[in-house]
């Protein structure tokens, strides 16, 4: 075959493929946008990729609560979905698809920091509400500032570090502790370390950080380093409960049992199945919500009866609910989803957001896109009981634990 012919075939194929690519969108929605009080939300998440549970829980929460919220506020919400494949390029592509081809009124997600980071500027410039329903890094994915369009119903890393820091940096037996932090080797984890380090410098407390690769076979060397550094106040800030199990296993092996052991609600995913009661003895976790509270109870029972079993990511389900409630109210106030700035203003001025029987008064404001406030009195410390299934027990608020010990 001559090169000329090859060139022709190549050109044809290239053109054909480009042409087809242009034609194929990912639109799974084709709603009529004419109705008043209606809005289209583009949901971005890792349908494929290493952490599809974020995608699953978001979708389930939408299936579960969107109809109820639509009815409650009399708005019509349409959802269109785009897969970010767990990569930044995928997120960039997904956000373009929802913004430009599906022409959504608001973007929800991506839930993971690395992907959110890639699209932050893009969504900001598009000037449409950005609904963050998953914990992310406050610096990498900010919700404040004049051009702010982002709203977050999950805690951000700064707030988490702030509140957890209040417990972890508190003196032990009248002396400053040595604080250790084990974090996932990702953007969220790295930011947590930075915050802790700054905090430590401000308070003259030694901070030792060790990062761990997701899926690592053991964490023995990290534990021996923490142990050698004399850490007695430990924070495990990992994205996967299975990895936390690897950590506590290695802690057991190395006989490392610091006075304080705290984690985040991520410990609820998989951890209890993989660790044993002896390993979670004395391991507490911090969250803005009380998982034994009535709002959570209602959400979990609805989830259970619909999908059988509890969610992997409690917080994603809860925060998606909160986000839908906030956005639906704002659309109602603005009259339509496609008046982006009206919706934004409405979000900033919401009187309250409700999740079941729980409400957050004046959650957002100009320059404040955070639902949760880093107030130790509002956050809860929880742990597991000694039963093999490890029921969640609430020990009290963080402030309570700081004051009286938990």
């Amino acid at each position: 075959m001559s090169a000329r012919r090859l060139a022709k075939v190549g050109a044809l194929l290239l053109t054909a493929s480009v042409a087809t690519a242009c034609g194929s969108g990912s639109s799974e929605s084709s709603s009529s946008r004419d109705a008043a009080d209606s809005a289209v939300i583009g949901v971005i998440g890792p349908k494929t990729g290493p952490a599809p549970q974020f995608w699953t829980e978001t979708n389930r929460a939408i299936q579960l609560f969107a109809p109820k919220i639509e009815k409650q506020y009399g708005v019509h919400l349409t959802f269109t979905y785009a897969d970010d494949a767990g990569t930044p390029a995928g997120a960039s592509r997904a956000v373009q698809t929802v913004l430009n081809e599906d022409n959504v009124d608001a973007v929800m997600g991506p839930p993971q920091s690395a992907q959110a980071l890639q699209v932050a500027d893009v969504v900001g410039r598009a000037q449409r509400p950005w609904l963050l329903h998953s914990a992310s890094n406050a610096t990498l994915v900010p919700t404040a500032g004049d051009t702010n369009w982002a709203f977050r119903t999950a805690y951000n890393s700064d707030d988490l570090s702030d509140v957890s820091g209040q417990v972890l940096f508190a003196p032990i037996d009248g002396k400053d502790p040595v604080v250790g932090i084990i974090y996932s080797a990702d953007a969220f984890g790295q930011a947590a370390l930075e915050t802790f380090k700054t905090y430590g410098e401000q308070h003259g407390v030694q901070v030792v950080g060790e990062s761990m690769q997701t899926g690592a076979t053991d964490f023995n060397s990290g534990i021996s380093r923490l142990k050698a550094a004399g850490v007695d106040s430990l924070f495990i800030n990992m994205t996967s409960g299975a990895d936390i199990a690897t950590v506590t296993e290695s802690m057991a092996v190395d006989d490392f049992d610091p006075v304080r052991k705290y984690a985040t609600a991520n410990v609820l995913a998989d951890y209890r199945g993989l660790a044993s009661p002896s390993e979670w003895k004395g391991l507490y976790f911090i969250d803005p919500e009380n998982f034994n509270g009535s709002a959570y109870k209602a959400i979990l029972s609805a989830y259970k009866s619909r999908f059988g079993g509890v969610p992997d990511l409690y917080t994603t389900v809860f925060n998606t609910y909160a986000m839908l409630d906030a956005y639906a109210q704002a659309v109602k106030t603005a009259g339509s989803g496609d008046d982006y700035s009206a919706v934004r203003d409405a979000l900033e001025n919401l009187p309250a957001v409700h999740v079941e029987d729980q409400s957050y008064e004046k959650p957002f404001g100009p320059g404040d896109g955070e639902l949760d406030e880093p107030d130790a009195a509002d956050w809860y410390v929880m742990g597991f009981d000694d039963t093999p299934q490890g029921n969640i027990v609430t020990l009290g608020t963080v402030q309570h634990c700081i004051d009286k010990g938990c």
Partner: protein, 290 residues
């Protein structure tokens, strides 16, 4: 110091067991199964299914799962390796087909079972054991012991039995072995079966401690691959030495510089070995005839 040595050696046992899966097939067929990590996953999921859904007892579930994983290995050899390794030693198509297979298995299990780690539900030696004054988990020690026992067994079988003689003959000159009435393809398939049985066993015992997930494979693939290369893919003792070296280096560097640099240092050792002594520490140098 002692703790680094003990942890390094004990974790090296797991790598060695999986690396044995590389060595066995390389000796007889000059090919490797790059979906080896996914065969661990398959073994573990099978065991979980057989125990949890079918209701087999732990040992029986392990035995059946190991056997089925082995048979799947044999099938892989027949369908994806043998037809893609016909053009001599420089033919590397089998490498790509097995990589393709690993994509398929990861994707299939992720779609069906989700990416989360699920507890296997049995088979975990849930205790801490003291070795030379250092604490290790019972499961890791079990894996290390299994690796040593398996290696010794393999060495005995291959040096003492008729089948072992056939295998050695195939590894030396497959064509001439065929002239002795022995099918090199059958020996190759058999070594794939045995190799993937070992890998399946390793996967199950490992998953018993850490849980089953489609993502179980890659971290161990890299470690086992490294152990195999360092020790030498043509020596049955290679995995033990390679696993020990890799385990020690990653543990020592991890303790000194932080655990994340451990794996990097292990990979650097692999590259150094490939450059300086491509046949591995215990491997046999293959002479090239002109």
């Amino acid at each position: 110091m002692m703790d680094v040595v003990v942890t390094g050696l004990v974790t090296g046992g797991l790598y060695a067991l999986i690396a044995q899966g590389f060595v066995l097939t390389y000796i007889t067929t000059n090919t490797l199964n790059f979906a080896i990590g996914e065969f661990m996953v398959v073994g573990a999921f099978l065991a979980m299914f057989l125990h949890g859904n079918v209701g087999l007892t732990g040992l029986l579930a392990i035995a059946v799962a190991v056997l089925v994983t082995g048979l799947l290995g044999g099938l892989t050899y027949r369908v994806l390796v043998l037809p893609f390794s016909t053009e001599g030693k420089h033919d590397t198509r089998w490498l790509l087909t097995t990589v393709g297979l690993s994509f398929v298995i990861v994707n299939l299990t992720t779609n069906a079972e989700g990416a989360n780690r699920q507890p296997l539900g049995f088979g975990n030696v849930d205790s801490i054991v003291t070795v030379l004054g250092e604490r290790v988990t019972g499961q890791q020690l079990l894996l290390a012991v299994v690796a040593v026992v398996v290696t010794v067994l393999l060495v005995v079988v291959i040096s003492r039995t008729r089948l072992g003689g056939d295998m050695r003959a195939v590894s030396e000159d497959a064509e001439t072995t065929a002239l002795m009435g022995i099918s090199p393809r059958r020996i190759g398939a058999l070594s794939y079966v045995v190799a993937m049985m070992l890998v399946g066993l390793g996967g199950i015992l490992w998953a018993a401690q850490t849980g089953v997930s489609p993502g179980l494979g890659p971290p161990l693939l890299i470690a086992a691959f490294s152990a195999g290369i360092i020790g030498g893919l043509t020596s049955l003792w290679g995995p033990l030495l390679g696993g020990a070296v890799y385990g020690l280096v990653t543990a020592a560097v991890g303790t000194a510089l932080g655990s994340l640099w451990g794996e990097v240092s292990g990979l650097l050792v692999v590259i150094a070995v490939l450059i300086v002594r491509p046949e591995g520490l215990l491997g046999r140098r293959v002479e090239i005839k002109v």
